[in-house]
């Protein structure tokens, strides 16, 4: 087991750890910080892989990740938090214990899915793939289990981090794909930002329960 693989691996683990801890956080500020750490570690992983695989594209991915997701998006999220005065907002969606246990269950499912289909692959790739899939699933779980629209966005962004993690682990992933995903995320973020403003104007809160009630009434 060479150092290259171990380090890449450890970074993947930290990305997953951040994804898991996102589930256990109630405060938006802490969630944003965790997301930022996750993105920075992801950027470091991309640089490391770029150095190991001698791929210029991966450096670019790393720079984009760092600039966009490590600095720009967290800044934007913090601005939203400040603007809507959500600094002390406490999330009260699903119970913490339940969502944590569900998170572990999802990681278990990811492992069980990846295991048989990649039995012949090198064990390290296997583990990386399992980690990436887990990060994606955990992000989706955050989106499902949270009520605040902002927390749902963070979950979405974390899901995207999982996809990038899978991409940098696979040699030969075209750079265009990653670049377009990054652009897509930025666009989505802008759209959602405007959307949030509109929600806020109408309902005076970012809690999506109000929208759900309207939906139900409409049916």
């Amino acid at each position: 087991m060479s150092l290259t693989f171990s380090l890449a691996h450890l970074m993947g683990g930290i990305v997953l750890l951040c994804g898991f801890l996102l589930l256990s956080q109630r405060r938006l500020a802490a969630m944003i910080t965790l997301y930022q750490i996750q993105a920075c570690v992801l950027a470091a992983a991309a640089f490391w892989q770029g150095w190991a695989q001698h791929e210029l594209n991966l450096y670019l991915t790393g720079i984009i990740t760092l600039a966009l997701k490590g600095l720009l998006l967290p800044y934007g999220l913090r601005q939203i938090v400040l603007r809507f005065n959500l600094r002390r907002a406490v999330e009260s969606g699903m119970g913490m214990a339940l969502s944590l246990i569900l998170g572990v269950g999802l990681i278990g499912i990811a492992v069980l899915v990846v295991l048989p289909s990649t039995m012949r692959a090198v064990s390290l790739t296997r583990e990386d793939l399992a980690i990436a899939l887990s990060v994606v699933l955990l992000g989706l779980l955050v989106m499902v289990s949270r009520r605040s629209a902002l927390a749902q966005i963070i979950g979405f962004l974390s899901t995207e981090n999982g996809l990038v993690l899978a991409a940098i682990g696979m040699p030969g992933m075209p750079f265009v794909a990653e670049f377009s995903v990054a652009l897509l995320v930025l666009l989505a973020f802008l759209v959602v930002g405007v959307f949030l403003l509109r929600i806020r104007e109408h309902f005076d809160t970012l809690d999506v329960t109000g929208i759900e009630a309207i939906e139900r009434r409409g049916r």
Binding site: A97, G108, L115
Partner: protein, 539 residues
């Protein structure tokens, strides 16, 4: 009637004997039912054929039912229902050939009798009901007889048909018992109910050990088989000594104070130092603390689970990892329960005048508890030696099992502790200021209590309920049903009771039918019979 004892029978008889002696000395020797109860257990253990086994087993059930009935009627009815269910499972099972069906029936029958989840709800109700001597023998002895039947059938008689999933089922039931038993022991307020819930937990630990061994035996893993069996048997021995000790102590508390509710006890060590010391020993064993009798089995069991998690497929490994977490939760809860039992009952300030004026035990009860306490010492300090004497039993149950020496050496730990204590004593004597001065407690700066409350206001002292409140709030609601009742009561017993009531109503309806309805019923039956006959002939 055919008696044919072997090493396993002798081991269990050896476990039974001190409890019977202690219970008899402690005040049960005048009761004929008590001796019939003991005789039934001995008969079941010595039995050489299935008939004798069942006869002894049912004799034990019937006698214990009478004894429970004398204490309290409601749990007795619940108890006899479970005993009948247990008998109904066991009787066909012992005559079936070796197969999975027979094992499932044996597991249901003995599990219902031993208090294995989910068939344990009766135990915390029935065990505390009779006098302390009987409670002691029920928790320490009767449960072991049920486990004896389980061990004999699972490891010897049904061995040719053994399947790995038998062990898995046993482990799962054991884990549920550990979690529910330990959690309820932490939350209950009655001293004897706490002890009964702790019995459920220990039965769970034993079942986990047996399950690991059973699974390993079916899969041909000698090391794990030996470890699991060692853990289970040592736990059986330890539990059969300290649980009767605690139950007898609870009886003495009831005798001296008039209640066993932890919310009304307190400060008993002051008036009852001898009982306090004996109960401290029992509680330390119950909490599975090192240098107590309960630690060596826990140690072996955790190692067995860790060993099981190191082999096999990924699903099995995940299962055993989860099992390890549950055992960790259970161990810490058991520690909390034991600390709460001793701290609330025997330390602090008295919560009632009776508790303040309690007299220490002497005479026969002291002798009975002393006997059990003396027997605990070798199990606590020389578990390796005890395991050595059990080798014939282990070889009988698992001829190929590897029996590694125990890696836990309580004597060496005790020597280290003594050396450190000597050094500590020297430092304190040489440089420290000697002697102590008795003053009013600081109590967060509150003033002294008024003179008419010599021990202060009992209401200002944390109660047993209050001590358990954080646990109840954090996990009690997740695991237990509403009002901290047992989950099986809500999910198993209540629906069954409802079904039973419906059936009764139906039977009542039939009994009250008019003559025309009865005629119609008979006529309908005739038509159906004819139809079946016709169809049978035609087809």
């Amino acid at each position: 009637m055919h008696l044919q004892p072997d090493a396993l029978s002798w081991l269990f008889l050896g476990i039974l004997l001190p409890q019977v002696v202690a219970s008899a000395v402690a005040g049960m020797r005048g009761s004929v039912t008590f001796w019939v109860f003991g005789l039934g257990m001995a008969l079941a253990l010595l039995a050489g054929d299935a008939f004798t086994l069942i006869f002894g087993f049912e004799l034990m059930s019937a006698a214990s039912w009478l004894l429970v009935l004398r204490g309290d009627e409601r749990p007795a009815t619940f108890y006899v229902t479970m005993a009948i269910f247990s008998g109904a499972c066991l009787i066909p099972a012992v005559f079936l050939p070796a197969s999975s069906v027979a094992f499932v029936l044996i597991l249901l029958g003995t599990g219902a009798k031993a208090g294995l989840a989910p068939l344990h709800a009766w135990l915390p109700k029935a065990h505390p009901a009779p006098p302390a001597g009987v409670s002691a023998l029920m928790s320490g002895g009767m449960v072991k007889v049920a486990l004896y039947v389980l061990i004999r059938y699972a490891f010897i008689i049904l061995a040719p048909a053994a399947q790995p999933w038998w062990g898995v089922v046993l482990i799962a039931a054991g884990l549920a018992s550990v979690l529910i038993g330990a959690l309820r022991a932490m939350l209950e307020v009655e001293l004897k109910t706490v002890l009964a819930c702790s019995t459920v937990e220990h039965v769970g630990l034993i079942a986990v050990g047996l399950g690991v061994a059973l699974r390993a035996k079916a899969m041909g893993d000698e090391t794990l088989e030996g470890l699991g069996l060692q853990a289970a048997l040592l736990c059986i021995v330890a539990h059969a000594l300290f649980k009767p000790l605690l139950f007898l102590g609870a009886g003495e508390v009831k005798h001296a104070v008039g209640t066993t509710s932890l919310n009304w006890l307190g400060g008993l060590v002051r008036g009852m130092p001898r009982l306090g010391g004996l109960m401290l020993l029992g509680a330390a064993c119950m909490a599975a603390l090192p240098l107590g009798a309960g630690f060596a089995p826990e140690f072996l069991l955790l190692h067995a689970i860790i060993g099981a998690a190191a082999t096999g497929g990924i699903l099995a490994r995940l299962f055993f990892t989860a099992a390890l977490a549950i055992l960790g939760l259970g161990a810490a809860l058991a520690l909390g329960a034991a600390v709460r039992l001793f701290g609330m009952g025997f330390l602090g300030r008295p919560r009632s005048l009776q508790a303040a004026a309690a007299d220490d035990i002497r005479g026969a009860p002291l002798m009975a508890m002393g006997l059990l306490a003396v027997l605990i010492l070798p199990v606590a300090l020389l578990p390796g030696l005890v395991l050595g004497t059990m080798t014939p039993v282990l070889l009988l149950l698992a001829p190929q099992a590897a029996l590694p020496p125990l890696a836990y050496a309580p004597l060496s730990l005790a020597v280290l502790a003594l050396l450190l204590a000597a050094a500590l004593g020297f430092v304190l004597q040489r440089w420290g200021v000697r002697g102590t001065r008795e003053v009013a407690g600081w109590n967060g700066g509150f003033g002294a209590p008024p003179p008419w409350l010599p021990f202060g206001d009992p209401a200002t002292q944390p109660s047993a309920t209050g001590l358990a409140e954080p646990v109840a709030r954090a996990i009690g609601r997740g695991v237990l049903a509403r009002d901290m009742a047992d989950p099986t009561e809500a999910w198993l017993v209540a629906p069954l009771l409802q079904l039973y009531r419906r059936l009764v109503r139906l039977a009542e309806r039939i009994r009250r039918a008019t003559i025309r309805e009865r005629l119609a019923f008979v006529f309908g039956a005739l038509v159906v019979f004819l139809l079946a006959l016709g169809l049978g002939e035609g087809g």
